[in-house]
């Protein structure tokens, strides 16, 4: 049983690696448009982990409370670099949502300030 799992896992890993290789070789030795028009010193590309798969991205989004169908549809509209950037930086990216005059952070800072003021005086 254990052996079977090992074989299954190895197969899965090989499959994943194969899929990644397939996406990079799909265009033969053509220069893609993105590659051609990008700045050659593009820093974004070098900092993004090349081994994040679209499946990893999908899992990350599903962890955010989205269904498998919705996440698949969203990722399908992003190119490989964008999908990887999303997976890597999702928690650091701004997510616009609220419109309030006084944010939670403001209230916390105000309260901290008040407490400190009381302690100092």
């Amino acid at each position: 049983m254990k052996n079977n799992n090992f074989i299954a896992n190895t197969l899965m890993a090989l499959l994943c690696m194969g899929m990644l290789a397939a996406t990079t070789l799909a265009h033969g030795e053509m220069i893609g448009t993105q590659q051609a028009v990008q700045a050659s010193d593009s820093q974004d590309k070098s900092t993004i982990d090349r081994f994040i798969t679209r499946e990893d991205v999908q899992k990350k989004l599903q962890d955010m409370g989205l269904s498998a169908v919705v996440t698949a549809q969203r990722i399908a509209l992003l190119n490989d670099d964008e999908a990887r950037a999303l997976a890597e930086k999702i928690n650091a990216m701004p997510a616009g949502g609220n419109f309030s005059s006084l944010s939670t952070n403001d209230i916390i800072i105000l309260m901290l300030g008040a407490i400190l003021l009381v302690l100092i005086l």
Partner: protein, 312 residues
């Protein structure tokens, strides 16, 4: 004694609060505005979707998409852009959703001039702001629908407000915190008013792998505005090649190589197309030219050469 020891902490906190308010100074950009821009612009007929809780992303995107002729409501867009765990919408999801509705999401240059040019050109601009009177990390999307240079104001549809007026310094402070991110969503046959060749082609090339038909239309429009644009010609060639039409691809790459004799990429892709057409001599000639030009993709040119040499 105990209270005294807290003084540095209080000072540090105060510094933090002040730093949050002052690190990003508004750009002194008024002087840099092109004189041709009208003094006042107020776009008419921009749909207004008052925002429900946390739904400023879907509301703002529905505004710009509807204005550009896509019939969508914030409710339609919410599943495409809103992420419950983040209580908000990510920029990349807004970009993806615009692509889904066959609109080109174009991030404008982060300047007042680009923002005003788009408005003068008839495009409302979706902006990311950080709002709140003190230190704040509340990200918010709004749509800029007008400006008034004499009053020094911009006019926004924001949250529940149909016409929120902000002075330029106030607006710019909130805009600067999100790296002055501003997005227009335009049909592919109409270029954004402020589009620069380089930025527009980069952003179209970015969507080519996921929306080839949309990219195709945008490349055609680019060539109308900028005949001989290298990115557009390479893009049309690559799309033709991907559709297994090396003959058409070769014509685009030839045109690109002719207009840009120093573009090694054009010669490399021309060589590939000639090889696919079984014209080995032409492929050899093109790849020799690419190799002599060199550049950042030289390794790919060498692989192409090896492939040509190995061909029968």
């Amino acid at each position: 004694m105990r209270a005294v020891s807290l003084r540095p902490a209080f000072a540090a906190l105060l510094m933090l609060v002040l730093a949050g308010c002052t690190t990003l100074r508004p750009q002194a950009q008024e002087a840099a505005l092109p004189g041709s821009l009208p003094a006042v612009v107020r776009l008419a007929g921009v749909p207004f979707f008052p925002q429900q809780e946390y739904q400023c992303g879907p509301a703002a995107l529905a505004t710009t998409l509807s204005y550009s002729g896509v019939a969508v409501s914030p409710q339609d867009l919410a599943p495409q852009v809103y992420t419950p765990a983040l209580k908000g919408s990510l920029q990349l999801d807004l970009i993806g959703s615009a692509r889904r509705h066959d609109r080109i999401p174009y991030r404008i240059a982060p300047t007042q001039a680009a923002l005003f040019e788009e408005l003068a050109g008839g495009n409302p601009v979706l902006v990311l702001q950080e709002v709140g009177p003190l230190v704040s990390t509340e990200w918010h999307y709004a749509v800029v629908v007008g400006y008034d240079r004499t009053a020094g104001e911009v006019i926004l549809q924001s949250g529940p407000e149909r016409a929120l007026r902000m002075t330029w310094p106030d607006f710019d402070r909130s805009w600067a915190r999100g790296e002055r991110w501003g997005l227009v969503t335009v049909p592919p046959d109409r270029l954004p008013a402020s589009a620069s060749q380089r930025d527009y082609l980069r952003q179209v090339a970015a969507l080519e792998p996921v929306r080839p038909a949309l990219a195709h239309a945008a490349y055609r429009a680019s060539l109308e505005r900028w005949p001989d644009n290298l990115g557009a010609l390479l893009g049309l060639g690559n799309l033709a090649y991907a559709r297994h039409d090396p003959e058409l691809a070769a014509t685009y790459f030839q045109q690109a190589a002719h207009a840009h004799p120093d573009a090694g990429d054009a010669f490399n892709n021309l060589a590939q197309s000639e090889l696919a057409l079984g014209r080995k001599a032409q492929a050899q000639a093109a790849i020799h030219k690419a190799l002599s030009l060199g550049g950042p993709h030289l390794n790919t040119y060498r692989k192409t050469q090896a492939e040509i040499n190995a061909a029968p």
